[in-house]
Amino acid sequence: MAPRICALCHTSKAMLRRPKTGQQICRDCFFFVFETEVHNTITEAKLFKPGDRVAIGASGGKDSTVLAHVMKTLNERYRYGLDLFLLSIDEGITGYRDDSLETVKRNQQQYDMPLKILSYDELYGWTMDAIVAKIGKKNNCTFCGVFRRQALDRGAAMLNVDHIVTGHNADDIAETVLMNIMRGDISRLGRCTCICTEGEDTIKRSKPFKYAYEKEIVMYAYFKKLDYFSTECIYSPDAYRGHARAFLKDLEAARPSAIIDIIHSGEAWAVKEEVKANQNAQQTCKRCGYMASNELCKACTLLEGLERGIADAGITERGMKKLEAQGPAPDNLRTIPFFRLASHQQNGHPAIEVEAPT
């Protein structure tokens, strides 16, 4: 077969077919269009302003590794004026997170960015290994998800950053849309497609890879020979997400635009006001100061259950009742350090678009 010529530069040999457009392009044109599309996503959503301190949530996996590389590249090429940091959470999973953190430490050298690693152990006094040893492999992902979310915010506050960017890609978002549809979770359905979430007292989070296909992220990592870690978490087969993913991949094989189409469907689901009203108003956890929808935040409830030997206290109604029946929390209960947002984040400044040099 004669080599195909790149549809963009008409000079070099085409090396891949873009899933979004079907275009056949060469390696250099691919790097350029991939990076430019992420830049367009960033500028159209006005994600950053000059001087922002931005943490990249780094797991050592492909998405966050490519994100760190692309953020560094774009920050230099278009002079965003951002201070970039790597922020990693160490869940304390032997043979999984310890290996992937080695990858992040290499990324720190390769990309020359400051790295902060915050562990569940130092924050909560429990590693995931210890939690699984105590409660088994049921509900462990609930603990991990709640603990990670809060750990990222706390790590960001320690770095005094304005903003966390994560490597969630178009496939991840489409998958979450499908899962929310299957669960009938209407309030999450609209929200999960937002490129940027920012509550009144939360640190801004955004997804610059919202429109980037996983295939292109993996191809980018492969062609750039980026150093990433790829193993499933040993505690999380997450069968449900696995099925959603396999289904999505089958759809994509039949029609590559399926991924973007599903994201657009999610976006079209406007969350009605009465649905929103049913959710508890945000308040601050009386024990640790983190945002909460009840008196205690989810992490404090889960931690109290762990400490008092009622692991499902934060998970089921029955567990909660059991905990309450035991009386109030003892004074010497282990708690999470008090949470404070970095001071300059409280006088919110309006976002302005990052200008590309002309």
């Binding site: 085409a14 492909k62 890609n169 996983e214 790829s230 499933e232 396999a246 991949k249 089958d250």
Partner: protein, 122 residues
């Protein structure tokens, strides 16, 4: 002595977690017959060359060969409906296999084939 069937040498690379199914070894060198059964059976590779039930060896055959001879576990994570499972990228000499005819690509001596899983954690 019978002349052995003509073979071609290939370099195989696994990445993105794919290697976990192949004894955690990323790089493999192998040699497979230049002509193979049309039904992709890898059991009797002594099929007479040029007989009507053989074809030049291609990627689909390679996928079956890898499953039967190199794969150590969980074949459903590698092969589905006679080809690689959706979500596995294949590169032929560093080019997306979608530009090379996918499974029908006729393997050449010295080709380097890469399989990368996109399904492993971000």
């Amino acid at each position: 002595m019978m002349s052995s069937p003509k073979t071609i040498a290939l370099k195989i690379e696994f990445g993105g977690g794919m290697e976990l199914l192949f004894a955690n070894q990323r790089s493999h060198k192998l040699s497979i017959p230049a002509r193979v059964p049309v039904d992709n059976s890898t059991k009797e590779l002594q099929a007479e060359p040029d007989s009507s039930n053989t074809k030049p060896t291609d990627i689909v055959f390679l996928i079956h060969y890898l499953r039967d001879h190199l794969l150590k576990e969980r074949e459903e994570l590698f092969i589905e409906n006679g080809t690689v499972r959706p979500g596995i990228l294949v590169l032929i000499n560093d080019t997306d296999w979608e530009l090379e005819g996918e499974g029908d690509y006729k393997l050449q001596d010295g080709d380097e084939i890469v399989f990368i899983s996109t399904l492993h954690g971000g």
